[in-house]
Symmetry: none
DNA sequence: TTGGTACAATGGTCTGACCAATTTCTGCAC
DNA sequence: GTGCAGAAATTGGTCAGACCATTGTACCAA
């Protein structure tokens, strides 16, 4: 079998060249997010560079969140890649304290509200059905498990970001989600976290169906407000414990 | 809403461990940007991992712009590093096309509105004076030059981000602004870009002084809306040119 | 159908070597 | 002593080949 792309590399600055070649390959083969890339060993052979170099290049992409590596399985495309793409990694200090988490939540509230508004404006019938399905899965999980389920909840919100038509929303929010994960390894002791937010999900959906941008924005703000309240309660609990 | 725990266990995360160890080292030694890190070989020996692993870890940091490697010289710290940092890699479809600009503007609108609302809630007398001063400088520049001045305008908005009490607003926005800076100078050939937004600056300030969060949010939304209109007009102009 | 087992494929790590760019040292000319 | 050219050491970049750990798959037995 002869692949048209993936010609040998010649210049110096190998790993950069590898990334360009790989970007070309991805575009040429029209690979979608979720598709599997060629094996490191295959790339190494095709590009006539060592596997080390291939790995360094892929490590770059992995750090930028463009690609995901699964040991024993393969390397999978995680974002859209094209040769002329502007990568802008933001890094800043963000501790695990209450204040930092509150800051990220404020960013999230801002983006969530805007995404909801845009979503209300732009969602067509098929997009609405997509969101509705995510909503119903979430509600089902809520009732069967008697509590908020993070995965299904996340799917619902993610569907809104996607339908907003602006990929930046999803990128920024999902990057911040990692901060949440870190934080929740040391929970604040709040049980049923996010429980209060449940009813607002359907309200938000209804405003989107009605193409009511400002209404959707308002509901999204209320939803995040309940989460902030939970967080504040958790912080209060911690303070109580500290006093003992 | 958030993850309840049960994260996947990780048996192999050596390069991550290397980065944590390195972050600790940097903090312990109080290394500043520009300082040189230990050699790859030294790190390899000290951390009891192979040089390959050290290199993979450093490649991650290099990709995030935290570190710079100079062959024959060494690896140098390029940014501030701490153990718990939030990495937020964003990727744009590069370029000066209308759609990309619109996407960044949508993010900006989201953050601007939220920052304005928080600002209205949190601004004390001295903060209000700070914002007022920036506003007056901007207005002065507007009248003397008969047009919006990007620098003074940017200073005004930046003061709002700062008073919001959440550093993330300023960091995210300024990073995006930087990426498109050259383009914002003369966007799409629209003269008097941002001219229509002028009166809304003072209105926004007045809502902040009144500690009216929702009012401030609304004015910020209107302000960005005028910029979007300008952008749309520019896109229409370009399209006209294309047809010739 | 279920569950287990062997095997192949794939990413992760290691070792040791050599290359290329840079820095530092050395010794000679003046 | 000074200045400078060349040698030597240092350091990141690449390579080759090996082995480990995890995953996916095909096959077999209960």
């Amino acid at each position: 079998m002869i692949d048209p792309g993936l010609l040998p590399i010649q210049t110096t600055a190998r790993d950069d060249a590898v990334l360009n070649a790989l970007a070309d390959f991805v575009m040429q083969e029209e690979l979608q997010p979720g598709d599997r890339l060629p094996t490191e060993r295959v790339l190494s052979e095709r590009l006539k560079v060592s596997r080390t170099t291939v790995r360094e290049a892929l490590t770059r992409w992995e750090g930028l969140g463009l690609v995901e590596r699964l040991q024993g399985s393969g390397t999978y495309l995680k974002g859209v890649v094209s040769r002329d793409m502007l990568h802008m990694p933001l890094t800043f200090a963000s501790g695990n304290d209450f204040e930092s988490l509150m800051h990220t939540l404020e960013i999230r509230r801002a983006l969530e509200a805007e995404a909801a508004a845009l979503c209300a404006l732009r969602a067509g019938p098929s997009e609405l059905a997509f969101i509705k399905q995510k909503l119903e899965v979430m509600e089902e999980a809520f009732h069967s498990r008697a509590g908020m389920s993070s995965d299904e909840d996340w799917d619902f919100h993610q569907s809104i970001y996607r339908v907003s038509g602006n990929p930046l929303f999803e990128q920024i929010i999902s990057a911040m989600q990692e901060a949440f994960h870190r934080f929740w390894e040391h929970p604040l002791g709040v049980r049923d976290f996010g429980h209060a937010s449940f009813p607002y999900h359907r309200k938000l959906y209804e405003r989107i169906v009605a193409h009511d941008a400002e209404g959707a924005r308002a509901e999204a703000l209320k939803l995040i407000a309940t989460v902030e309240d939970d967080l504040r309660r958790g912080a209060a609990n911690l303070k109580l414990l500290d006093l003992k």
